[in-house]
Symmetry: C3
Subunit: 349 residues, 3 copies
Amino acid sequence: MNYVRNAWYVASWSHDLKPNAPVGMHILDEPIVLWRNEDGVLTALQDRCVHRMAPLSLGRCEGKKLRCMYHGLLFDRDGTVVEIPGQPKIPDHAKVRNFPVVERHSWAWVWMGEAAGADESLIPPAVGLDHPDYILGHGHLDYAAEARLINDNLLDFSHLSYVHAKSFGAKEDWAQERPKITTLERGLRVERWLKSESGIPGRSIDKPTDQYSYYDFLIPGVLLMTGGVFPAGTAEALNYARPNIDEALTGVTFTSQAVTPMTAKTSRYFFSWGPHRKHGDAALRDTLMGIAGMAFAEDRTIIEAQQRVIDATATPRIMPTSADRGITLWNLMIDKMIKAENAPLRQVS
Amino acid sequence: MNYVRNAWYVASWSHDLKPNAPVGMHILDEPIVLWRNEDGVLTALQDRCVHRMAPLSLGRCEGKKLRCMYHGLLFDRDGTVVEIPGQPKIPDHAKVRNFPVVERHSWAWVWMGEAAGADESLIPPAVGLDHPDYILGHGHLDYAAEARLINDNLLDFSHLSYVHAKSFGAKEDWAQERPKITTLERGLRVERWLKSESGIPGRSIDKPTDQYSYYDFLIPGVLLMTGGVFPAGTAEALNYARPNIDEALTGVTFTSQAVTPMTAKTSRYFFSWGPHRKHGDAALRDTLMGIAGMAFAEDRTIIEAQQRVIDATATPRIMPTSADRGITLWNLMIDKMIKAENAPLRQVS
Amino acid sequence: MNYVRNAWYVASWSHDLKPNAPVGMHILDEPIVLWRNEDGVLTALQDRCVHRMAPLSLGRCEGKKLRCMYHGLLFDRDGTVVEIPGQPKIPDHAKVRNFPVVERHSWAWVWMGEAAGADESLIPPAVGLDHPDYILGHGHLDYAAEARLINDNLLDFSHLSYVHAKSFGAKEDWAQERPKITTLERGLRVERWLKSESGIPGRSIDKPTDQYSYYDFLIPGVLLMTGGVFPAGTAEALNYARPNIDEALTGVTFTSQAVTPMTAKTSRYFFSWGPHRKHGDAALRDTLMGIAGMAFAEDRTIIEAQQRVIDATATPRIMPTSADRGITLWNLMIDKMIKAENAPLRQVS
């Protein structure tokens, strides 16, 4: 699996993790149990008891600890076994891996690299459900496809013209015009002006406009996008530079999306979307979520089909087009980061 | 997969391929998209976009062309990419494989070998649904089994006495007596006289008869069978040679059946059957189709079970009997043809 | 698959094998057909026709014989082919393997080693459904897990405190106290006194008692357990030795359980349980079967989950505890027996 390990992966919506209800999931093929103790504190441990490999996600929360419900080994938050029923001595190696976990922006983020390197400043600045400026709907979707293919999809919006002609009402211009792509320290920025756009279904505007959108796609696979509708001529007046979103006529929304590789061929896709308070209300949020539901199903249909074709092909081969520049830059960045992760550490003398 | 490539495989009933509705299927493990354009012309292409391997069978017909609905590459009938949205230059290798396809006898036949060798005279002379002499019902059935096992079944009718004792009311004589088998250029001819046969359920005759049947089993796996019921004594009078079918008392029917290997372990089985106009009507056709439905389900039950046993056996091994002569001759022919296909081509100087 | 071959495996409840109704199943990955002929005699053969590998379990009983219903080969009880339709000569090697099979204690037991070694005295002394002393309920359950994990479960009852806290109302003492374990010639004996036990739900006793239970766990994976409730103080008075079960106050039951490895990752679990006639009736039997139904579902949930974790782990590793002594002794015994089975036989001169 060709994914960066030194990164924060979204494991769950924070509110889906109730106290005393351990949840099992996979990230990068690692079985992980997420559990919130009586104090509300979240812990992420390897979901595999050291004793006989039963999943701890079938375990029972006891105060601040978690008990394996096969033979009763009790685990502390750091993964250490603190009780073996009927056995006074606990071996030193009786310990499962603990994964750093942080709750932020309504998501539970798990660090998949060495714990020592976990740096909270690397958590992408997603917009949480409680953000004062936005009225957000949310959800998640499971894919029978590798996360890489979903990342590819999000790195190239030329597919909007074909996959989302119906849901987003996207025109050919998404495929015809290439966005401006800038490399960030841990990701890419993708900006685009589309002129005379008439908006998306349910939000049409009765005169020509310039529509601006921009998103950051950040390690390990988090898309943060906003934009708005401006008077026709704005794009040229600004020489196609970034406008002040606060000055948009209408149509300012924000979406946070996170792609988490569960196993080699399965992924979980978390998303929120909704209007800026100045440009919409709960009714518009619900309209947008209806559109998103249709659009994300369109994506999943083509991506899972693509996965099946790849799996059935002895020697998979692609032919990049000029629309793939973002994907290419992203993959170079990923390859470089993985290479750095695998490099032998130099001694600091 | 041990199948001949230089052959016409049935891909579909012709009438199941509607205009502007691409259909994906597999033949010999190759993903193939079949699409009929606005002119009614049928095309068969590799069902895998050169760009990112999305299936073209999820694409959209545009006039005479087919567009991949992931990122919009447009394909001509010969498999060439003629448009990449937003990219003026199209690489020379932007092309998927085109398979020769011919509609004949109500079926769409695809040539799986090199296109240059596609010879329409090799299409087996099946009887189409519009044939003036026959009143035919038809259908198809999918198997979770390799085509080879279905071919084996069709090459040895001794199984009728056991598998089809109920549906066809077959007696022991099918298993006790060996048919006459003749080798053809691309297949086998199997002829059989059964004496004092009382017919099949619903078509019984109240006096002893001689029943003759014969079929050709042709490359790549097409069975064409006819026969009829004659006065008792005809077989001996003819010294068991082929009778004139036109002189049959009753019971003349025709069945065309085609076995198509989709993947290594899945197959599609196409069939038609019905009476000669002189010997029956639409009601008899429907009776026969009911019998065929039961009989083909009996075959599928035993063959899929056989496949499961084979798959669970480390070193599969068979013990041929004298009833297997047709299978043995067929496999020798197949092996020889495959060997010829793989032989290095001699230069013509 | 790490299982002893020279042993009797339970293949079925005897009464589930009706005359003229062949049944297919797997033991140690071997396909086996069990069939009862017109005389009521049971036979176990390899479930794979020598001809073309069709399963004989789809065959037809004919008098004392079994006919393959693909092409009609007829098998005698010893596995020899005695008829090939339409072929006078039968090859010497036309024979499938015959497995010794014995019906005893309401079960059909199949010997998986060389037939010559089949020794009926090795059949574990289970209690059959017709035993005069017990009123037994029974059933079976299929597992998507290897039999070894079910054996592990049955060899260590410390799991009762966690897996069966609800169904059996088991307290912590099952996990805290270690049983007495004795090695038998082909198995282990596990004995345990629990003091002041208040019984299981539905059978509570209103004063402190001592509860004794003991089971033999016998090759290849058969558990035979009994026990009873004694006046408080009995355990100390006996210095924790085995009591006379006939002197129990109440609570004497018997359970026979057999774990059969079907394939590498599937198993069938046969069980009976019920009270001694002096300590209960059919109503109590039904109560116990209700409890067992809940408990066996609890076991299956954790064991199948454990199997999935093992399967998803590149290098499975366990950390035995002091509760695992029975499992360790059992596995040493199994390893030794397998080694002996595989040793080259010495010539007797």
